[in-house]
Symmetry: C2
Subunit: 332 residues, 2 copies
């Protein structure tokens, strides 16, 4: 059975295509009897309006695209859950696509916005340049989330990473730790901001350079182990390590423990994100809670404004509050 069209539904129902279309779109200007006939015909023919034809006429799709490098991070999946729920409330479908950090793949996906496969785009840490993002955001509806451009190339929603890192470092210092280390990630914008916050807190506490170690690499468990090993081997030993993510912190705790040292008695460890990893560690991690789900919701709502309000500003940023969560991986 080939797919039915409005024409066939109209014929079956004994009305015109206009009436069918009106029923389809919930127009009030249809008699009860017509509506019923059309509804019956639709069911009978198992009819669905063809998306491409409808999109072509309406000049919108009611779909948005959310891009990220990968999906295996708790923060990303939670952000996108927020995006999806908010989108659904407004009748939009949100589609997700990982780029694998491949610029070509990213371009292909961004082209879905350019060719109107989707009405809007949410960008989580794009590979493309700020300039490209800016050009895109001038012409289309784009919102960045979590990893947002310093330059305000587009509209962005995030926590204040620098401040959050400052807060948790400050907490470590106030707790009495004096030889701090950080495991960071300069490849990510948020990573650089967290480093800045860490350094600022250390500087304000007048820590000398050798009281402030810094190593950096990827943000996964194995990198966390490797970088911690480097830290332990290099000496002098820090008494507290601030890690740029909970996953890295998990690797850090593991490596310290394996080296026969105790957390937090010999070395304290702090994470970032408050993902489930933080609770899986022994001891559980002191960390920064990111309101990931909320950020997703807010990101969609910002995008919606840009998609529907003519004069909506294309640039700017919105910071959501973060929260210090103190657990057993640092002393009280």
């Amino acid at each position: 059975m080939a797919r039915a069209t409005v024409q066939e539904v109209a014929k079956t129902a004994g009305v015109s295509v206009g009436t069918v279309s009106r029923v389809l779109n919930g127009s009030p200007a249809v008699s009860e009897s017509s509506k019923e006939k059309v509804t019956t015909a639709i069911r009978q023919l198992n009819y669905r309006p063809l998306a491409s034809a409808r999109d072509l006429r309406r000049d919108r799709t009611m779909r948005i695209l959310a891009l990220a490098k990968n999906l295996n991070s708790p923060v990303i999946s939670e952000v996108f859950r927020g995006v999806g729920d908010a989108a659904a409330l407004s009748g939009y479908v949100s589609l997700i696509a990982p780029t694998s950090g491949d610029l070509e793949r990213e371009q292909q996906l961004v082209d879905m916005l350019r060719n109107s496969s989707v009405d809007g785009l949410i960008l989580f840490s794009p590979t493309m340049s700020d300039d490209d993002v800016e050009t895109l955001a001038e012409q289309f509806s784009v919102v960045q989330v979590c990893e947002i451009a310093d330059s305000e190339a587009a509209f962005g929603v995030s926590i204040d990473d620098r401040q959050a890192a400052f807060d948790i470092t400050r907490h470590l210092i106030e707790t009495g730790y004096q030889r701090l280390a950080m495991i960071g990630n300069r490849a990510a914008r948020s990573g650089r901001l967290r480093e800045a916050g860490f350094r600022q807190a250390a500087a304000e506490a007048d820590l000398s350079p050798d009281q402030m170690l810094f190593v950096e690499g990827d943000f996964d468990f194995h990198a966390g182990r490797r970088l911690t090993r480097k830290l332990l081997e290099t000496g002098p030993l820090p008494d507290a390590v601030f890690c740029g993510s909970d996953t890295v912190a998990a690797g850090c705790v593991r490596e310290i423990t394996d080296a026969g040292l105790r957390v937090p008695d010999d070395i304290a460890v702090a994470g970032f994100d408050d993902s489930v990893q933080a609770e899986m560690c022994i001891p559980e991690l002191t960390t920064i809670r990111q309101p990931a789900y909320d950020m997703g919701q807010v990101a969609f709502e910002s995008l919606l404004e840009r998609m529907t309000v003519a004069g909506a500003h294309r640039r700017g940023r919105l910071f959501l509050p973060h929260e210090l969560v103190v657990r057993g991986s640092t002393k009280a």
Copy 2:
């Protein structure tokens, strides 16, 4: 600047729309000079073919949709990475959408297949009934992955969950464990199969019912802790616990450790999936490796066949090999 159309490109290039279209689609029947003029005009006008118009004419989209309940599992994100890479190789874009276990949301997304927003669908544990999947698969290109219907409602790619659970349980028994417990999840099809494999291995080893405890619940860390606590409180104590996922096993190890018992000396623990969780545990988990990435690739290739080959069979299943990985959470 409003978006350009083929018409405008044609006018700018001084050729007909037919020629523009031919250039766009790489038709060989275009002179070099025309091609150059068109290419120049396209760049000048920053032209992109409108997806909906193109899809309408071509009657295909070169996009597929991959559905899952959520994205926060290592297996799912790895499967979808495989899908995405394989799709890209064939010129398809793969879009991902979580349903949050909401049937209505799932219907809306499945409608993207019915209304030709996408050419094919990959289903990971749908909420809808086997009958609905079957009806869908008869009419459209659908492939299930990981959670596949016993009834062969559609074409499915997975490991043999029953066999894998049998293998790891058998390993525990051969290692010398005699009082087994399993933490399962009857809500998932794979969970029920793993339970069956566990019971079969236990039965073949003539374990008595009280040597074979079983509890079940969700497949997350906290559920793992809670169910393990139940196991420990209920007694008699098992000497080995097989968990239906690494995440649950992590919770299990944690709870056992917190109770002052040692893994594996007092109680051994085995997981399932060989996700990064397995390596994050102390001790690291004995588990079953699922070739998640490969399953994703194969799932896409199966889907591609169904989308492009007229007589492709709509039903059946394909099992990929699993592998027992022995680590410190069980004795050698």
